[in-house]
């Protein structure tokens, strides 16, 4: 299994992540780590808002936000099927939306996504990686499932106790 050595370093990554005080600090950290470990060129973590069925993510600087309609593209399909997806020929896939490529000028060749669940098994986000030279495979899927779960504790913690602090009627 090609990810065996990775598990040893994941504790350090997790400790660093738990030092971040907000999503905009944490998301670039997760994205960078996932990219380096899975050997993909790009990574985005989309945070899902079920109230308005919207996804948002931050650019690499952690500041600018991009919003996305949750029923579009491969990320949208991930939310509907609640399962990881590999697309190794993006432009041939019926659900692939080339709008982002057109806007950014970056060409997507292959994609892997996985849903991120909270403790109640609700989707709170989608982890997406783009462009691995040799394409994505089943080992990558297995690792992504583990990794999405591993970071979900941080994401739920920060959503539960930081963002919703204004409606502070929940005990604890």
């Amino acid at each position: 299994m090609k990810y065996t050595d990775t598990y040893i370093k994941l504790a350090d990554f997790g400790r660093e992540l738990l030092q971040k005080k907000s999503l905009s600090e944490g998301l670039p950290h997760i994205a960078k780590y996932a990219k380096d470990v899975i050997l993909a060129r790009r990574c985005s973590i989309y945070i899902y808002n079920s109230e308005n069925d919207e996804l948002w993510t931050t650019l690499a600087d952690g500041i600018s936000k991009i919003k996305l309609n949750a029923n579009k593209g491969i990320v949208g399909q991930t939310i509907r099927t609640q399962k990881p997806i590999i697309v190794n020929n993006a432009y041939a896939h019926p659900n692939f939306s080339s709008a982002v490529d057109k806007e950014t000028g970056y060409k997507t060749n292959n994609i892997i996504t996985t849903p991120i669940f909270n403790s109640k098994r609700e989707i709170i986000g989608v982890l997406q990686l783009l462009n691995k030279d040799e394409g994505f495979d089943e080992d990558d899927v297995k690792f992504m499932i583990f990794f999405a779960h591993y970071v979900s504790g941080f994401l739920e913690l920060i959503t539960k106790y930081k963002i919703t602090k204004s409606k502070n009627n929940e005990k604890l």
Binding site: A11, S119, K120, Y161, E170, K171, L172
Partner: protein, 164 residues
């Protein structure tokens, strides 16, 4: 507690937990934190081994193992229903095993337990707390234990993967 403080406390706890390299080191740390944060007198984390359908836990020293048959008691019931279970009157609950109290001399007044799932939604353990200091276990406790079981599951799965 203010949620900002709660965030810092849980983040600090999570970072400390990730310093631990094994179940033997990690479980006592989880137990002492869970007891404090939930205001309960006792806590056990049971690790579930699917291959031989057994649950085990450690003494508070983290060394000695205690093996529990997975079909018995409220913990066994939690494994089967895959949901948190509150028992506020154990001696009238069909699943409760009074044998352990008899053996240890400790009287269980109320308990809450929750399954711990891994990333593939398989049960890897059960978290159990006994004897809440103030009143019975309630829905707020249930909400928190679901969150907390998930929060520690990343560490538990990581330890299991490293051993494999």
């Amino acid at each position: 507690m203010q949620s900002e403080d709660m965030y810092s406390k849980l983040a600090d706890f999570g970072r400390e937990l990730l310093e631990k390299k094994s179940f033997g080191e990690g479980l006592p740390h989880i137990v002492s934190y869970a007891k404090e944060v939930m205001g309960a007198d006792r806590c056990s984390v049971y690790i579930y081994e699917e291959e031989n359908d057994k649950l085990w836990t450690t003494h508070s020293d983290g060394v000695k193992k205690i093996i529990v048959p997975s079909g018995k008691g409220v913990v066994g019931y939690t494994l089967r229903v895959r949901k948190p279970v509150i028992v506020n009157d154990p001696y009238s609950d069909v699943n409760f095993l009074p044998d352990v109290d008899k053996k240890t001399g400790y009287k269980t007044q109320n308990m809450i337990s929750a399954p711990i799932f891994d990333s593939n939604r398989e049960i890897i353990g059960v978290l159990q707390l006994l004897n809440k200091a103030k009143g019975d276990f309630d829905n707020d406790d249930k909400r928190f234990i679901i969150f907390f079981a998930h929060y520690i599951s990343g560490f538990l799965e990581l330890v299991a993967k490293r051993k494999a």
